[in-house]
């Protein structure tokens, strides 16, 4: 059914009211997390757009604290899985154990049965464990023995990767990385922020604990509204132009990028870019998507979906450089 002008106006008003919790949530998280607004914003995009987030950053940047605080603020169940080389799929999803009293096998659920999962250092576990988690992320259900369990919604996986250590790690294959809606690269806090972090840690009594602001059901309602956010055909074309420019740069007068790109974004990239743009528009309390929304989420959605050639790596060209070139060349509607 086609949206009319009045529909969009109503939707806009509805979203304007419904999205008020975003600011409250951000404020509540700000009580314990100093800085890292960008990371918190991306977590909320993932939460609202039903996507998972891959975080890349050095240790000690409040990754665990962020997701733990977010789950507390939403009153949701949180669990953390530290990925190690000896981890087994059963350690993540659960297994059947034998009950001697009842003389039967019973299911013991793994830590994945939670709303928010922190998969810490996901690249430290072998491929079979990674794929067990990523399959659960995609299907949102787990099969143990003969029984299939639906995972509770909202279900958000925040996986972390440490970019400075590569030894003894199992790099996520491109197909697996593609399952993450966003790959967020987080940096160090500023001097001022770090000063506040020190003060907060030296005097932990001064900061109040996180209170539940909303319930998981509110997130589910918000997701419905995100789905309704209006995306014009021009925006759809803009998204497609960006994704297609990663595949066929020469069609966008970007011939110089051709030898640098091994493979471009998949259709999943287009889908996730649209979802993330909608979620971002919702967070900005709008009922429609504008090109700014697409550009804002573009780097996080696309950076892990653009494969670089050896030539690009030799010239120290990053996927961010390529995306910048593309965004500067593709016409904005």
């Amino acid at each position: 059914m086609e949206n009319t002008s009045s529909d969009i106006r109503q939707l806009n008003e509805k979203i304007h009211q419904a999205s008020a919790f975003v600011d409250l949530l951000t404020m509540e998280l700000g009580k314990v997390i100093v800085g890292q607004r960008y990371m918190v914003e991306r977590l909320l995009i993932g939460l609202l757009a039903q996507g998972h987030v891959l975080l890349e950053g050095v240790p000690g940047l409040a990754k665990t604290l962020s997701i733990k605080s977010l789950s507390s603020a939403i009153n949701a169940k949180f669990s953390r899985i530290q990925f190690t080389p000896d981890l087994l799929p059963a350690d993540v999803i659960g297994t059947m154990i034998y009950n001697q009293q009842k003389n039967e096998f019973v299911v013991r659920r793994g830590p994945i049965f939670a709303n928010f999962i922190l998969a810490d250092e996901i690249n430290r576990a072998p491929a079979k464990v990674q794929s067990a988690l990523l399959e659960a992320m995609q299907e949102r259900q787990i099969t143990i023995g003969d029984t299939t369990f639906k995972l509770d919604e909202p279900f958000l996986v925040l996986a972390t990767q440490n970019p400075i250590e590569q030894e003894g790690t199992y790099t996520l294959p491109e197909a697996q990385v593609d399952r993450f809606m966003l790959k967020v690269v987080i940096g160090y806090p500023t001097k001022e922020e770090e000063k506040l972090i020190i003060r907060q840690n030296l005097n932990p009594e001064a900061s109040s604990p996180i209170r539940p602001i909303i319930q998981p059901s509110d997130i589910m309602e918000a997701r419905k509204l995100v789905r309704e956010v209006y995306m014009d055909e021009k925006i759809e074309k803009y998204i497609l132009d960006i994704v297609f420019a990663t595949r066929n740069p020469e069609e966008y007068k970007l011939n110089k990028l051709k030898p640098l790109i091994a493979y471009g974004g998949s259709p999943r990239a287009s889908i996730n870019l649209a979802w993330a743009a909608k979620a971002y528009a919702f967070m900005k309390r709008r009922g429609y998507v504008i090109p700014e929304d697409v550009r804002n989420v573009c780097f996080d959605v696309m950076r892990h979906r653009v494969g670089l050639t050896y030539e690009a790596e030799a010239e120290n060209v990053t996927s961010e450089n390529i995306l910048s070139e593309i965004l500067n060349a593709v016409e904005v509607p």
Binding site: S5, D232, K234, I290, E292, R295, P333
Partner: protein, 333 residues
């Protein structure tokens, strides 16, 4: 007495008969010598060793008579063969002299002997082989005498080779040739009649194109026919294209917010910032949120566009040439 004489004659005849073959063999003997040019060298110095075989003319003419010179290996005891000449023949009146010269050196100090050289002599119809041997030659190989009573002397510095201009004649000749060719080219180009620089007269200015496009847009009466989205798309495209050509701002590839940021350095354009912001906001709503602005707003947006064009148009170089195009002309504000 007579009987004694007869017996004596018979005995002498027998003796002569027995010695005759020896006299023949004596005729076949070859005189061979090995001679060194010195019997005392310093370590590493060279010795000329000459091997000589002297033949009688009869021996030389005898097809069955051959003298084979010794074959010296590259290394003898304590001596190294540096060079060797080919076998040479010197013809005198009564003898033929075959000789070969070897250059030897030694790196072992002490008294050493050049061993006897064995010449093979083949003679007679049945190729009887015999050998002739030279005498050994004693050679003293001396080390450099070191005066241990004196102090160590420093290593001598690198000695400068006396400079000679003829060592570099080829380089000088090449340099002179290149210089002459360069002067020739320079002279040729200097004397060549210069083309009059073609002064490209500006064709149609971006301002004029924008005005023309606006005129066409007005005539098409798009908003009056209800095609509001197209009206605003065209209106903003005209303005963005004008900015691109007039101010070299990549306006077509920027979102409204980015454009408002990037016009800041262009003073003349920045003065119209508020107007531009209002215009782009309404246009974005019409394009991406299906907003239906009022007729007054349509007129107002058109008027604002015209005002921005009027304000920012170039003052001097507007040339009226309706038949030409304005691509390529860029003026930095």
């Amino acid at each position: 007495m007579y009987k004694q004489q007869v017996i004596k004659r018979i005995f002498l005849s027998c003796l002569l008969g027995l010695l005759y073959p020896f006299s023949l063999l004596a005729q076949q003997a070859v005189d061979v010598t090995a001679k060194a040019d010195t019997n005392s060298i310093r370590i590493g110095e060279q010795i000329k060793l000459q091997l000589t075989a002297t033949l009688t003319p009869a021996q030389f003419k005898d097809a069955n008579f051959k003298v084979l010179f010794p074959v010296l290996p590259d290394s003898l005891d304590h001596f190294e063969v540096v060079t060797r000449t080919t076998l040479d023949t010197l013809v005198n009146q009564d003898q033929h002299v075959l000789h070969q010269t070897f250059t030897l050196t030694s790196f072992d100090s002490g008294h050493w002997e050049i061993p006897p050289m064995r010449f093979e002599v083949i003679s007679g119809a049945n190729s009887t082989a015999d050998s002739a041997v030279t005498l050994p030659i004693g050679i003293d190989v001396n080390t450099v005498a070191v005066d241990t009573t004196k102090a160590f002397k420093p290593i001598k510095a690198v000695q400068a080779v006396p400079w000679n201009i003829w060592d570099y004649w080829l380089y000088i000749a090449i340099g002179i040739t290149i210089a002459l060719v360069g002067i020739g080219i320079w002279w040729y180009l200097r004397s060549k009649p210069k083309k009059e620089p073609v002064i490209k007269t500006p064709t149609v200015s971006p301002y004029e194109i924008a005005c023309q496009e606006l005129k066409i847009l007005k005539e098409e009466k798009l908003w009056q026919q209800g095609d509001i989205k197209q009206y605003y798309t065209r209106l903003t495209d005209i303005l963005r294209t004008y900015f691109e050509h007039q101010f070299s701002i990549a306006a077509l590839e920027q979102t409204s917010e980015e454009l408002l940021q990037n016009i800041k350095p262009v003073t003349i354009l920045n003065q119209q910032r508020d107007k531009l912001r209002s215009l782009l906001s309404i246009a974005d709503l019409a394009k991406f949120a299906k907003l239906q602005p009022t007729a007054d707003e349509h007129e107002d947006c058109m008027r604002k566009t015209e005002e921005i064009l009027e304000w920012t148009k170039p003052k001097a170089n507007v040339v009226n040439n309706p038949g030409a195009t304005a691509t390529g002309e860029k003026q930095q504000a």
